[in-house]
């Protein structure tokens, strides 16, 4: 089943000259970097194999980073490297060499939260330094301090409203970046050590065990215990409806969380916010039909319940979940990534989920509307007809106009 009828609006080319915020997407791997950039991200953030906060992510080797930089720069996109752990002394000893290496490769900036890291980066390179949200920069005075310490951009705490972010930008003269979409820490970022003390995993060096997502038993005033309470589990952030405020306050960069998510997520979320930013930039409004379309797509991406976080007022009542699971609803299934295009002959697809002849699938072009298709023919990697595409295989599907290497194929699955 397709997400929506394959008609309605078409996107206007992004040739607007007016100011726009940077769409900054997560890139947990080289594949995800290419997908995010291809689908419209102005910039991506990623980690090397050390100093980031996602130890379980694939993270980039030197060669992957070099390739990712070339890919992004050729398409006008920037690449920021996260160094946002809070390193112990033994960790930081290896940092100078890494900083010199990424500076030589030509990364566009680093994201750091620890003043030791910031000090090393400014001593060993001339890389722009973006203060990570982990540093919980929440007010103008804090912004002024970080500016004096060499920071060039403030990735503000998720507790800061868009209006406050604009105020901080004006007061400091620094670029400001705000999260617009994705999962949220319950604590002031960088101020949670539950994993450290209970699981022996340092959350501020990449080992967060997501203890805030666990269920807990709480005791009420009578000492009566109530189980299955997700009192620390935050709803997810979705700020697409508030894009006009980001424009009004000239927030330099809108950030999407999710380096651990799939290529499908990296691509679709980049595309949605690309379209929304370009549309608002041109029309100075977000037409209702398009908003509905984007909402539907965002609803089909894996998420917990959405909220607007603290973007307009402090997140509080109603900002936590009353259950632990992702929303029970239809969702996009990631069928595969186009790896090779034989013009007018076939597309070679690396299969991520099973699909069959007769299934309705969607081809998602880098720009423009998804194309709904019924699978009429399916061939294995060497061209023999098959009826089912299996995971960890390559299949050939008939050529689709507009398909390029890296294009995504999905379908909507009803739960």
């Amino acid at each position: 089943m397709c997400a929506m009828p394959c008609s309605s609006f078409s996107m206007t080319p992004s040739s607007m000259k007016s100011w726009k915020p940077e769409v900054l997407s997560p890139a947990g791997s080289l594949d995800k970097l290419k997908t995010a950039v291809s689908y419209g991200a102005d910039a991506v953030y990623l980690a090397g194999q050390k100093f980031g906060l996602r130890s379980a992510a694939d993270n980039f080797t030197r060669d992957e980073l070099a390739e990712g930089l070339e890919f992004a720069h050729l398409r006008g996109a920037k690449v920021y490297v996260v160094l946002n752990s809070f390193p112990h002394q033994s960790d930081i000893d290896a940092l100078p060499a890494f900083v010199r290496e990424i500076a030589e490769l030509g990364v566009d900036g680093v994201i750091a939260s620890d003043l030791g890291v910031i000090t090393v980066v400014s001593q060993k390179s001339r890389l722009p330094i973006h203060l990570s949200t982990q540093a919980s920069c929440l007010n103008e005075e804090s912004g002024r301090l970080w500016k004096k310490l060499g920071v060039t951009r403030l990735i503000l705490g998720r507790e800061v409203t868009i209006q406050e972010a604009g105020r901080i930008k004006r007061a400091t003269g620094l670029e400001v970046e705000l999260f617009i979409h994705g999962s949220m820490c319950m604590a002031y970022s960088g101020n949670c050590t539950i994993s450290n003390f209970t699981q022996g995993r340092d959350s501020n060096r990449g080992g967060c065990a997501q203890s805030c997502r666990f269920s807990y038993t709480l005791e009420d005033s009578q000492g009566e215990a109530r189980s299955n309470q997700y009192f620390m589990s935050s709803k997810d952030l979705m700020g697409i409806d508030l894009l006009s405020y980001f424009f009004e306050e000239q927030i330099d960069s809108i950030k999407i969380e999710g380096r651990m998510r799939s290529s499908l997520y990296a691509g679709l979320i980049s595309k949605i916010y690309r379209e929304a930013v370009d549309t608002y930039s041109e029309l100075r409004t977000l037409p209702q039909a398009q908003l509905i379309h984007w909402h539907q797509q965002l609803a089909y991406l894996p998420h917990r319940q959405y909220m607007t976080g603290s973007l307009t007022e402090a997140a509080d009542q109603g900002s936590t979940l009353d259950r632990g699971v992702f929303d029970d609803q239809s969702h996009y299934e990631f069928l595969g990534l186009i790896r090779k295009v034989e013009l007018n002959r076939y597309l070679l697809l690396e299969v991520r989920s099973v699909f069959r002849v007769g299934d309705e699938i969607e081809f998602v072009p880098f720009q423009g509307q998804p194309v709904c298709l019924t699978v009429t023919e399916l061939y294995n990697s060497i061209g023999s007809p098959i009826s089912e595409a299996k995971v960890t295989s390559l299949v050939r599907i008939p050529y689709i106009e507009g398909a390029q290497i890296g294009s995504l194929i999905r379908k909507v699955t009803q739960l």
Binding site: S55, D58, T61, D63, F86, P87, H88, Q89, D91, I92, D114, L115, G116, V117, T119, Q134, C137, L138, N139, E140, E141, S142, R144, L145, W146, L149, E159, E164, A187, C192, N196, T198, Q199, G200, N204, F214, S215, Y216, T217, L218, E219, D220, S221, S227, N228, F231, M232, A314, A315, D316, G318, T320, L348, E350, S381, I382, G383, T392, S393, L394
Partner: protein, 395 residues
């Protein structure tokens, strides 16, 4: 080594004085995470502390957005600054504000969150241009590191010696959010604007007894055990620790303080164990002897298949048992060639060696070489699986 502790009222000031404390931390309801004092109470206690020859220190440790900062500044205008000996801050904005607006006031800088390396800690101190009279370090630092920092730093150091371990601090009111399900005991007294307390136990781990406190600043989650270094006092003195902080703010009474003086002054003669056993809850010294909170990271992903640059060619994307193996060439530097010696590393870590004798493209046309981004087909490689990494075998 100074004993530093909090006082909530005159009685506690006297307990502190008798316990031999050097200074007292005073917590205003609008400025401190666990603060309950009104401005008049704080000003009165500041004066009393002075009379008792205790150094009164204002704790301003909340984190603040613009709105919170504005409220804090209103409160600060009513504080008797002349009687205070120092201000303790954690939010960098508060640090900046004191540096710019109270130019004579010494600063105690709380670096308990993060700040585990000397480069950063030193720079925080230098930024204060001589105004930082003490830094408060994280209890995640092990003994050896604290000792190195103390010997390398020009600013005296304090750590928590006995008290609750803060695990999470959020501005959200997490217990009020649950009010549909619970009749919470909202403690109202003259000092607290808003206070809800409960105990949480994880249903997915063995950890229980987390103390949860919601107040006007949000919600704080504490470890079931308290941090305690009473049995390490001699070591702390030897490393020249400047201040040993004791925090009884979550207890009904701070009478335990009176017994600490002897432990701090004469650790070799006193019986710290007796004091620890009398403490209202179990204690831990967590990472004081060693912090190994990064050793489990290796288990978070399969390091066997973590890509290495050296010799990397690509990944196996498909295998047809007994027939063929398809490799996606990903390297920009190395291609897949006839005659090449390959090493496959499977997702399970098994190493399979193979010599390429026959290579075709996906249309099964024989080729000598397959380059970046393309797919090459070789004979079936026994034991290799999809997801295996393919390297040039240089051995």
């Amino acid at each position: 080594m100074k004993l530093v502790a909090y006082a909530r009222n005159s009685q506690e000031l006297n307990v502190l004085k008798n316990a031999g404390a050097a200074e007292v931390l005073l917590c205003h309801s609008q400025l401190s995470r666990l603060g309950k004092l009104s401005t008049s109470e704080l000003n009165a206690l500041t004066s009393e502390a002075r009379k008792l020859d205790l150094r009164p220190i204002l704790e301003w440790d909340i984190l603040m957005t613009h709105e919170g900062f504005t409220r804090a500044l209103e409160t600060l205008q009513e504080i008797s600054w002349d009687s205070l000996c120092a201000v303790r801050v954690q939010d960098p904005g508060a640090y900046e504000w004191i540096l710019e607006n109270r130019k004579e006031m010494p600063i105690q800088l709380v670096l308990e969150t993060g700040n585990r390396n000397l480069e950063g800690i030193r720079r925080w101190c230098e930024y204060g241009k001589g105004r930082v009279e003490r830094v408060v370090l994280s209890i995640e630092l092990p003994e050896s590191r604290i000792s190195q920092i103390i010997s390398s730093l020009f600013v005296p150091v304090e750590i928590l010696g006995l008290g609750p371990i803060l695990l999470l601090y959020t501005p959200r009111h997490l217990l009020s959010n649950q009010s549909n399900h619970f009749e919470w005991m909202v403690k109202k007294d003259e000092r607290a604007q808003h206070l809800i307390q409960t105990v949480a136990s994880s249903e997915q781990t063995l950890h229980s007894g987390f103390r949860v406190i919601e107040n006007q600043h949000g919600t704080l989650l504490f470890h079931a055990k308290d941090y305690c270094l009473l049995d390490q006092v001699r070591e702390l003195r030897e490393m020249n620790l400047d201040a040993f902080r004791v925090d009884y703010r979550l207890e009904e009474s701070s009478e335990g303080l009176s017994q600490l003086n002897e432990v701090l002054l004469h650790p070799e003669q006193s019986n710290a164990r007796q004091v620890i056993e009398a403490h209202p809850r179990k204690v831990t010294r967590c990472f004081f002897k060693a912090n190994a909170t990064d050793v489990l990271f290796k288990k978070l992903k399969n390091t066997e298949i973590q890509r290495q640059d050296s010799g990397f060619i690509g990944d196996v994307v498909e295998i047809s048992r007994g027939q063929y193996t398809i490799i996606h060439v990903l390297s920009q530097k190395l291609s897949l060639k006839v005659g090449q010696a390959l090493k496959f590393i499977t997702p399970g870590g098994q190493i399979v060696q193979y010599q390429v004798e026959h290579l075709t493209d996906l249309d099964q046309r024989p080729v000598q070489e397959i380059g970046a981004g393309d797919f090459g087909m070789i004979h079936y490689v026994k034991h290799a699986t999809p997801g295996s990494s393919v390297y040039q075998n240089l051995e």
